[in-house]
């Protein structure tokens, strides 16, 4: 079976759950304790699709209040981006549009998957209300704590990476 290796970055504001998403995806674990990521941590995970094996080098980039503060060298050679925001913190919604514009300008033709994390903190009604005020189209709503949609995020991106490489 065909195999590709791609660098994938998880980025977004601080305390949105990037490290937790990776912990859930790579190690099937979750910790409620908040521990900031200072720079970058790199993990590896293989995603098996029907037609291809995708070796993901997952870069967990320390959260900054806006993406312009992230060292540019972290973005170099990225094959895909997972932009994460905290669905339970509406104060951060205003930054999402600018962040995604910055990323798409920096990483041309690189697929960006937008993820709203921490859905376990909202009830169904509130979640639907909050979805109405998010300024961008969101690809997945996840809960790293409960594992909701986490696999789907990475599988979806892996499929996109395969499509891009063909």
């Amino acid at each position: 079976m065909k195999s590709i290796t791609k660098k994938v970055i998880l980025t977004g504001s601080f305390s949105v759950g990037k490290t937790s998403l990776i912990s859930r995806f790579v190690y099937q674990s979750f910790s409620a304790e908040y521990k900031t990521t200072l720079g970058v941590k790199i993990d590896r995970k293989t995603v098996e699709l029907d037609n291809c094996i995708v070796n993901m080098m997952i870069w967990d980039i320390g959260g900054e209040q806006n993406q312009a503060r992230v060292p540019e060298t972290y973005f170099l050679g990225s094959g895909g981006v997972i932009y994460v925001f905290d669905i339970s913190r509406p104060s951060g919604f205003s930054q999402i549009t600018d962040d995604i514009a910055y990323l798409t300008a920096k990483l041309k033709d690189v697929p960006v998957v937008v993820v709203g994390n921490k859905i376990d903190l909202l009830d169904v009604v509130t979640l639907e209300e909050v979805k109405q005020i998010i300024p961008v189209s969101v690809d997945f709503y996840t809960s790293a704590k409960e594992g909701t949609n986490v696999e789907n995020v990475f599988t979806h991106l892996a499929q996109k990476l395969v499509n891009e490489s063909q």
Partner: protein
């Protein structure tokens, strides 16, 4: 030892240099920080995911071009130890071949301090955001309490007013109905019918504003099923007294296909029709000749209802039309907005007909198993 020696000794403890080739094979390492040499046969790309990630960037380095790549604050574990280092990559010429130099600058202590500062900063920001949300919730809760109090006051007031007014109104309606039976002339009968209809409209408004119905906000007030033609006739009856000198009565022309029953806010629609007729009768007086009502289906269960009041006996002057138009614009715009309706006034020049139209769109109730036509 001179100063340079001290400096070198200090840097020596903080820096490690590793040289590897394009295939990831270790060529040389000083092992100051991490003992890579313990894994002589290991491929560094497999040992360090960060290296595999930057493989593409390294391969673009050109010999002798001084290309370099700096990755600050890379967190990584090695042999059960945790490091935070700055990585510097560059191309070197090593033992007659091109290779990559990887400098690891250990800043774990400094970055651990920075980590604490950043952790505190982030926690403070999150706490401040949480506090702001809590304050907003408190403010909203206060508003809700205030609104509930106001609603309570209004309910009590409405209960009192409604009970006190409805009883005499019902007596007036009953009396007017009784007197109609013994009316001597058609004109007298019309007066009583007018009075009965007008009082009925007020009674409907009161019914609509009953506290219980106002509180049931989940059931919008526009859910009353009414007979549209009856409603129009009833409203028109109010104006009967004003048609004493009229040669022919207003002719109500219901076009085929008009629904018998519709779901509407009956009192408010009656009020709208009342205003519509009032404007027409006030300015056109006895010369109003016909009212036609037609229906146009916009989409299933939604219709446009068109009312046309036509005057072709005694056409108004241009000034009178302009004045009437201006008056309608001012007074009826709010009412039109409420019902999403539209008013127009125009003249057909050839036969001097003055036409006032009222366009309304609303949902039509269709009984189950009945033809939608």
């Amino acid at each position: 030892m001179n100063l340079n020696d001290y400096k070198t000794a200090f840097c020596f403890r903080q820096v490690q240099a590793i040289i590897f080739n394009a295939g990831g094979q270790l060529l040389e390492s000083c092992d100051t920080l991490i003992s890579v040499s313990k894994h002589p046969n290991a491929n560094l790309f497999e040992l360090f995911p960060v290296l595999e990630s930057v493989k593409g960037n390294l391969s673009s380095f050109a010999a002798g071009k001084n290309d370099k790549l700096v990755l600050p604050r890379v967190e990584f574990p090695f042999d059960d130890q945790f490091f935070i280092c700055d990585f510097h990559f560059s191309m070197v010429y090593h033992h007659n071949q091109n290779a990559y130099l990887w400098i690891l600058h250990d800043l774990t202590e400094q970055y651990n301090y920075l980590f604490l500062v950043q952790q505190e900063r982030n926690e403070t920001i999150i706490e401040a955001q949480k506090l702001k949300i809590d304050n907003e919730i408190l403010t909203l809760q206060k508003d809700i309490t205030l609104l509930n109090n106001l609603r309570h006051i209004r309910r009590n007031l409405n209960t009192t007013i409604t009970a006190e007014i409805e009883a005499p109104l019902n007596r007036i309606m009953a009396l007017a109905n009784k007197l109609k039976e013994s009316a001597d002339t058609k004109q007298e009968y019309n007066y009583l019918a007018s009075m009965e209809s007008a009082v009925s409209s007020i009674d409907d408004q009161l019914t609509q504003s009953r506290p219980m119905q106002l509180d049931l906000l989940l059931i919008p007030p526009d859910r009353t099923e009414i007979n549209l033609q009856d409603l129009l006739w009833n409203v028109l009856k109010i104006f009967n007294y004003g048609q004493r000198t009229k040669v022919s009565p207003v002719y109500l022309n219901f076009k085929p296909g008009l629904p018998q029953s519709v779901l509407v806010n009956k009192p408010r629609l009656a009020q709208l029709f009342h205003n519509f007729f009032e404007y027409a009768l006030f300015d056109w007086g006895s010369t109003l000749s016909s009212l036609s009502v037609s229906l146009q289906e916009l989409k299933p269960a939604f219709c446009k209802l068109e009312f046309i009041l036509t005057n072709n006996i005694n056409p108004l002057t241009e000034q009178e039309i302009a004045r009437l138009s201006e008056k309608m614009e001012e007074d009826l715009s709010e009412l039109a907005r409420t019902f999403k309706g539209k008013f127009d006034l125009f003249v057909l020049p050839e036969d001097q007909k003055v036409i006032m139209t009222l366009h309304l769109s609303f949902r039509v109730a269709v009984a189950k198993n009945a033809s939608s036509s």
